[in-house]
Symmetry: C2
Subunit: 357 residues, 2 copies
């Protein structure tokens, strides 16, 4: 747009003397022989100017590789056009993908993205929030461990900074969030399993006390089993930091009464579960079926391919950003968006083994 003409025409920095300080509007004004007000007007297209003036200004700006400082601009405008993003970890593909969605939508809307991660560490989390606040982000898209018990969210409420949760599905529904219906989604998984003949269905889940998502998904699992008149299978709560599950799962997988299907509350857990089952000498899905939750892309590529409940991660991020942006002025309170989920079939989820076991 306005900036197209800014690349230097001669390809070099400027007229001989190296310009080591970044050019300011004053430098441009001086070089063009006009006032800074004129430079501002020309470059922003506001107000009129003679064609010649415009030409002079553009040339000067271009020669100096001038790019208006958003920081000066922000100070004046009292708005930064920047949003903060806070996720537990960038290395979990499901978060990486939602960040990609946020980033994309933000770029589209002319917003910058300041990123921070917590590694599930409350201290890091609050430091990150402080940093984002100081940077005067206009709002936040974030995923926290437990949206019902989060000091960070309390802080945000206190200072009235708009935010939208992604993935989290708080009980206090007044906290704006974008998620899938975790209970319904989990039910869908269990129903698929029962349809395939499974009768003993276990669950591998993140710690309930630390994760609202894990709790919801567990509730859906439980409800679906109850509806089907089946007893709940074993539930194994695991820490996200130690994904070597073989020794944790072993006790539940001995004997004829072992579960024939396991529902993992997220995909990383599902992969770890499959790994553990193989290490224990069990075949997936011939002995035990596994279904995950998230829909990470790599799941399609592995063997057996991962059956999983797909959340639209990219859309989750993009939608959360849009909510935030459109809600900047208005009230975000109570806004909740449920995105549709789908069940992606995969080789890891097959029919229940025949009775012979």
């Amino acid at each position: 747009m306005v900036r197209d003409g800014m690349r230097t025409t001669d390809g070099r920095v400027t007229d001989g003397r190296a310009m080591d300080r970044v050019a300011t509007i004053r430098d441009v004004a001086a070089r063009a022989g006009v006032s800074i007000a004129t430079v501002s007007r020309v470059l922003n297209g506001s107000g009129n100017a003679t064609p010649e003036t415009m030409e002079k200004v553009r040339a000067a700006a271009s020669d100096l590789s001038f790019r208006p400082s958003t920081i000066g601009r922000n100070l004046k405008a009292a708005r930064t056009r920047t949003v903060g993003v806070l996720v537990p970890s960038l290395t979990n593909p499901v978060f990486a993908e939602s960040v990609a969605g946020i980033q994309e939508a933000a770029a589209e809307a002319g917003y910058s993205v300041l990123i921070a991660s917590t590694d599930y560490d409350p201290a890091k989390e609050s430091r990150a929030i402080e940093g984002l606040l100081s940077n005067r982000v206009e709002g936040l898209v974030l995923t926290v461990a437990d949206a019902d018990r989060s000091g960070s969210l309390d802080t945000l409420d206190e200072v009235r900074l708009p935010y939208v949760l992604a993935y989290n599905q708080p009980d206090r529904a007044l906290r704006a969030h974008v998620s899938v219906d975790n209970v319904a989604a989990s039910r869908a998984v269990v129903e698929r399993m029962t349809a395939l003949g499974h009768r003993r269905i276990g669950m591998i889940a993140g710690r309930f006390r630390q994760s609202d998502r894990s709790r919801r998904r567990h509730a859906g699992w439980q409800a679906a089993l109850a509806d089907a008149g089946l007893p709940p299978g074993p539930v194994v709560e695991v820490d996200f930091n130690d994904l070597r599950l073989a020794h944790r799962l072993a006790p539940y997988l001995e004997g004829p009464e072992r579960p024939t299907a396991l529902f993992a509350s997220n995909d990383m857990l599902a992969l770890a579960t499959i790994r553990a089952l193989r290490d224990l000498g069990l075949s997936v899905p011939d002995d035990v079926s596994v279904c995950g939750f998230d829909g990470i892309e790599v799941g399609r590529l592995m063997s057996p391919s991962l059956a999983t409940l797909v959340q639209p991660a990219r859309a989750m991020g993009a939608t959360a950003f849009e909510c935030l942006r459109t809600g900047f002025s208005g009230d975000l309170q109570g806004r909740a968006v449920m995105l549709p989920f789908t069940l992606r079939p995969g080789e890891s989820l097959g029919p229940a083994p025949s009775k012979s076991t």
Copy 2:
């Protein structure tokens, strides 16, 4: 540190009247009955002040949930303590992980991270760079498709903004970068393959014209084969946007002379390759072995587990940031750091099948 006292003591916003505008240093000064200079000094620990003054100021700041605006601060200091990060895609785990490393190191050093991604789209790339430049980042850590042919890097050179490449290994070695020795690393892969008895070794690679890494890795593969006195196997260049490889690979995998091992120039490609082989009815590693390059974590979890050349992605990011930070004042030109690589064994790479084929 200084900010510890800022959380409101009574847990509420303030004294009754809601304060909807974010508090500024002037608000604090007014409330404490001192000048803004005093507030600044107390909060920054510079200069002395009476204990009572300090107390008054701290209390006022805390009551108002005052957080100094980095944007005002930056404007004054002419430095932003912000770095930009530009990657092709957040959803490739190898980039996500290096971003995590950057983010971590940056947070440690008190820097904020502004993130942008290109999706391998030059237009997005240059827009992203413009945005970062306008935001006055102090430097950039970035990964580009081809560091020897990058308009973005030319722009950065022009404006003399410090940057450090991650993963890229440019021919023009004067561009600061952190990488592994891609040629040596690829040789290590091929040597392992020949040690396992493989004699027909093919390569699946990203487009050479678009990727300096792909070129280097191909060169290493070629050199190692030459050293071993083996003829180069088939080379399949693939587009990163279409990872359904079965139809691409099929022609090379028929007949007794098919390769017994395939070297994929990155892990996503390796996963897609394994998938394609299975779709073609071939077993990995019994019929064909596969080794990747990157060392993404999910590789460990899948079955067969992925053999791969591990780059220290997190360290790559962290190191690149450190280079940038320590080089801010000095000269980044020609600085190149080679990080050590390791070969991670995995089930996807086994001994060559016996002659009988």
